[in-house]
Symmetry: C2
Subunit: 428 residues, 2 copies
């Protein structure tokens, strides 16, 4: 019998605000951080499970405290039993009546659950000697259904409907897996678009993005309308008509403001408008979607759980779903989100960047392609070229595509040296 | 000049699970707790500001850590400057770009902001020598508007509309204040209705509620349909036809289940169905409201912020709004919620009970009556007779009404003895 013996945490912070990497209209000076968790067992295999919550600096200590509060829920348990029923364990953690009060199912405590769940998946994949995407894509449809908590979803998606979606995808799995390994999964880059960059840097990075083979870039907007028009015109002139440009307002607008602001940006053939307003405002997004049509509305990196995603889909409030590996309660809840998107026929284009979000979320899109939606059509995974050097198995993005990871695990494990170097001390 | 010199915290937990006080279909064994904050200044007046987040046990330490993370945002500041512009200070705290990532505007970090904001209001009222409700109801309409952050609200409520609502209420303020002081504000009691109580206790408590003058009681439902029918029939037979009975499912149901379950309870003249499903499911509540009409749907104690409340109102998804003193970011956000309710003509019947929720939320309803909606029609404040003895100025509920507090402050201050006795130690 293998037992979980420790859930260790580290408060990791990178001083990214010094270079304005990651600066946008809502987040002028982020210090990309991770509340990092390592789950250890007493097995002699030396394997550990790694997970984290991405934050942007202050408050990362609170996120760490929330993960630590979950240690009593996992330490001492039989590892085989937990890893064999991650759907059941997810429900036990998320629906613990006392912890649940702190959300419910949102914010610091929910994301902490996500870090623990993701660490369990990392360990499960390592024990299987497979990358996470392949572990997920090898499960039988009914096993995938068992991962999902359908509580609060059944008016939009029932277990039977989920099973039907998954079974439909079974015949093509092997062929799509081969295509994925051969061709990778399309990426887009946000590297050129941060608000804090000057024109010369914007221009240079746009050119480099095209040269690197990306078919889509993304620009931050929302601080100054005239500046947005100017920067978007500049970017369009550099990348030409054939590279897609998405824009991202990072929640800066009121509903009416979003519609009128987007009128000014409409001439530049915008691929989507991302986070036009509050990520809680489903009805607001629905109104914006009607107002800016046919430009698709994208959101998700701050959408707290599957219940909110369900409604975004029911209300036709998003046309691009941007799941995030560390915002919701881990892999299981993102499997629910992928199934919801498949049910409604909406493409999933994950949010990534930050710390380790590219490394982890790529597995979910690849699983989706092989075993859920069965398509890469209109789908791209965000890519930002920050901080990958701190990971044991960094992403392999070349020629504008994510190449499918082959290493065992979820991609979440950071280098011990990086953890030691960037461990945050309050008085540092 | 007066300066904030400390934000002290205490992890307070009462072992209420031993008696099943507070037990419901979702929360079988709560330990009513408070992440408690005391804001101190260097003034010689000896006054301090008190605020808290109510939780139900495990995780209260995480909530305390979140409040502690806010100390650098307030300690060292000029108290007069902050207290004179609480609307501005609210925005600075809530929209701090790095902390905001942890919500945004929801869960542990948002509630921590609420505790600090509420502590500031407690101090402001004590310095004024007035109960909080009177401090708020004495502000000019434009000063009340300045307390509110209209970000993400303007598609439903603009500052001008809020001003108009408030100005309309000015002429009747003095008369309503006199009526409030004379007659109090109607209360209803949840004391009889906890799921963990046996029939004899339920019957006795129902009888006592009627004898005590309450015009409404509330029963917990949602664990077992036949049991609910039986208990509701029993309660109805005890209280007679003239006492209202609300029921509360504490989020236990799916959308379709809520509608069918309520069909079984319909014969008992239900005053409202509370929390039928996920507090994030606006569209689900709207469907339930259509399905159970004319029974009103009530929710709010777990509604994370004003953006969600806005949508509940826009979608006619609730007919009774249940604000909570410690769920959102404090007094300022609840002023926004009251204004939204007034705009949509929906009654506010606050959630209370827990630890100190009655003591604090009564001020908001009384302010609403005097200066916002101008009516007590169809409005009641929840009352539960737990734990009031731990507060410096406990509520005065007699003959089924909350008598208006006269003591200076917000009601949040706990007795030093109680803080010391129920301070939680991890190894206790």
């Amino acid at each position: 019998m293998t037992t979980f013996v420790a859930l260790d945490t580290v408060d990791v912070r990178f001083p990214t605000s010094r270079t304005l990497d990651g600066s946008d209209a809502m987040n002028p000076d982020p210090d990309y951080s991770a509340a990092y968790a390592t789950l250890r067992t007493d097995a002699s295999d030396g394997l550990s499970g790694h997970g984290f919550v991405f934050t942007i600096g202050r408050g990362n200590d609170v996120q760490v405290a929330a993960i630590e509060a979950l240690a009593p829920y996992v330490v001492g348990l039989d590892a085989e039993e937990v890893l064999d029923d991650l759907g059941g364990f997810w429900k036990r953690l998320v629906h613990d009546s006392q912890l649940r009060w702190l959300g419910p199912e949102k914010g610091v405590m929910h994301m902490a659950v996500g870090a623990v769940i993701n660490a369990l998946w990392d360990l499960k994949a390592k024990r299987a000697g497979q990358p996470l995407w392949r572990v997920l894509a090898s499960l039988a449809p009914h096993e995938i259904v068992d991962l999902v908590d359908f509580r609060y979803l059944t008016d939009a998606l029932t277990p039977d409907e989920a099973l039907e979606i998954l079974e439909k995808a079974v015949p093509g799995r092997a062929q799509r897996e081969a295509e994925l390994v051969r061709d990778g999964y399309p990426a887009y880059t946000t590297t050129p678009g941060w608000l804090g960059y000057d024109d010369a840097k914007l221009e240079r990075l746009c050119r480099e993005a095209v040269e690197a083979g990306f078919g889509q870039i993304k620009l931050k907007v929302g601080a100054d309308r005239d500046e947005d028009v100017r920067r978007l015109a500049l970017a369009r002139s550099v990348v030409g008509p054939d590279v897609a440009i998405a824009v991202d307002a990072n929640q800066r607008w009121e509903v009416a403001e979003a519609v009128s602001w987007m009128e000014a940006l409409r001439p530049f053939d915008v691929a989507w408008i991302e986070e036009p307003t509050s990520p809680d405002d489903i009805l607001g997004h629905a109104a914006i979607a009607r107002g800016v049509s046919p430009i698709p509305v994208a959101t998700g990196e701050h959408v707290a759980n599957r219940v909110l995603f369900k409604q975004f889909l029911q209300a036709d409030a998003l046309q691009v779903m941007q799941i995030d590996a560390s915002r919701v309660a881990g892999v299981n809840e993102n499997v629910a989100n992928l199934l919801l998107a498949a049910k409604f026929g909406v493409p999933v284009c994950p949010h990534a960047g930050g710390v380790g979000l590219c490394e982890t979320v790529q597995h979910l899109s690849m699983f989706d392609y092989v075993a859920v939606s069965g398509t890469r059509e209109s789908r791209v995974i965000e890519y930002v070229d920050h901080l990958h050097e701190h990971f044991v198995t960094p992403v392999d993005v070349r020629s504008g595509v994510y190449h499918a990871p082959t290493a065992a695990g979820s991609g979440a494990e950071m280098l011990a040296d990086s953890l030691a170097t960037y461990r945050y001390h309050r008085d540092a």
